[in-house]
Amino acid sequence: MTDPTRVPYRERERSVTMERLGEEPVSGTAAVTEGDVQDELFTINIGPHHPATHGVLRLLTTLEGEIVRDVKPIIGYVHTGIEKSCEDQQYWKAITFVERMDYLAYYYNAMAFCMAVERLLEEEVPPRAQYLRVLHLELNRIASHLFWIATAALDIGAVTMLWWGCRDRDLVLDLFEMSSGQRIHTRYFQVGGVMEDIPPGFEAKTREFVKVMPRRLDQYLSLLDRNEIWLNRTKGTGVVPVERLLELGVTGPLLRAAGHPWDLRKGTPYSAYDQFDFKVPVGTVGDNYDRFRVRIEEMRESLRIIEQALEGLPEGPHITPNRKVALPPRHELATSMEALIHHFKLVTEGFRVPPGETYAAVESPRGELGCFVLADGSAKPARVHMRDPSFVNLQSLPDMAKGGLIADFIACVAMLDPILGGVDR
């Protein structure tokens, strides 16, 4: 017999036969004598490719009958080395890379990175840019939560919700397309401000969206909140006490659903969040139902913030006037020698950041998104690290699922809302 590892991969694939199956009963199946079935622990593998794992997440699950006894999340299947790639990019090019980590909350990745770099540069961001950032961050929060509710409801069997959620997320993506030209991965935030001012018509379209959205949220609630399957799967399942969540470093809607009102927008306000009036929704029980309701209410609060941002949008530049950091306006290049030099320097070399390190945190739709940047004085970062909330929150999955039914386990994964691009980076 030849060494099996010497056979080329494709050959080995063809050599797999089904002959051996059926010779002896596989443990845990009905063929095992009765009585054993209930006591036996049975390990199954969910994922990495599974519609209910929200990406490429592998869950090694130990079951006793239908009860989940243990879960081990296995990750790394979409690790693409974005943090390493950032070290080879100039600061302004790295924004494009970090946006691809948490691919539903791209504005937040860019925001955390830009905040860290601005802090190292001691660069002031003009008030209009701050407001435009808040406006887009909150639009992104709604888009992210809409996609979450669409896929979470799909996991529990409500297919209509998938279409409704994606339909309304499209309204937000249309707005992103208006302001930046891209629907996802917009790269709208720059170090020192935002790429462009909002175009004419953007405000009217956003107001239209703000007007239509509360009714849509009511529609979701009337679809889900009286649905028996939805309520059975979510009420009273996946409860983890607040103390345990804090130990595990869980933040965001998961923590707020358990009754802890921690929100970085209120706790340590960044950008212009201290000028806005909004509430932080919290739950009481901390089960999956609370997680669902907290996110729905967060969308309503985001709409309020968007409205206020449109009302109070200050006049002024949309990006810092510091030409060492931000590109000069295009029309200046034809008339100003300095503008041409600055443009050339920024596009070829980029800007240099003085040596130092910093950690900037923002409240993303999933919790605290922190960005650590180590600068060595060159035009490229020496280290970019994202403390991604999905990565840290995933550790609470075993606590949520243990002792529950496997059907509730799927609901737990859905309500945890992990984005595997952010988990693996």
């Binding site: 790394g76 070290e87 470093g249 130092g356 910093t358 605290e368 180590l374 990565f391 995933l394 550790q395």
Partner: protein, 173 residues
């Protein structure tokens, strides 16, 4: 953030509460306070800051590593502490060399460090003594090397396709 004076007070309390050699320095940069700690004392200092200090830091928000390549000791591990009551952050940082990079795990103090210590091990090769499940987390289990170190080349690996798999003998080992 504790201001520069507050940071010195914390450093003084840690020196008295743990040991005089535990704190190797303080840094206050861009409004952020960093307490530099000897690698052997990390666990004790964090235990002190979490429980015994008069201004406790009950939460670990982020644990990450970095590589300060030309400098020695090369590797750094950062512990971002948070106090929700005071809405305050403190960065505890330690520096270790690549020859003997061993730290004591803080999973018993902060269970959130589990995945994050595994990631630092995976990317930088820092060993965490006492970690309950010390394995790689993002890279394949049989991967060699620690890719986030700065002397690890970028893009040095061949990309395997069916048409070129013959060019890389025994790639499947």
């Amino acid at each position: 953030m504790p201001d520069a004076t507050g940071l010195e007070l914390i450093a003084q309390r840690v020196r008295e509460g743990v040991s005089p050699e535990a704190v190797t320095g303080t840094a206050f940069y861009r409004g952020e306070a960093t307490l530099e700690v000897a690698p052997s004392a990390v666990h004790d200092v964090l235990a002190y800051l979490r429980d015994a200090d008069e201004e406790p830091w009950p939460l670990l928000m982020s644990l990450h590593g970095c590589d300060y390549l030309p400098e020695e000791p090369r590797l750094g591990v950062h512990y971002q502490l948070l106090s929700m009551e005071r809405t305050d952050r403190l960065n505890v940082k330690t520096r270790i060399g690549v020859e003997d990079p061993i730290l004591r795990s803080v999973v018993d103090l902060y269970p959130t460090a589990d995945f994050q210590e595994r990631e630092v091990y995976d990317m930088f090769g820092v060993l965490f003594d006492g970690h309950p499940d010390h394995r790689r987390i993002l890279m394949p289990e049989d991967y060699e090397g620690f890719p986030q170190r700065r002397d690890f080349p970028m893009g040095g690996e061949p990309v395997l396709f069916t048409f070129n798999e013959d060019e890389y003998p025994r790639w499947y080992d």
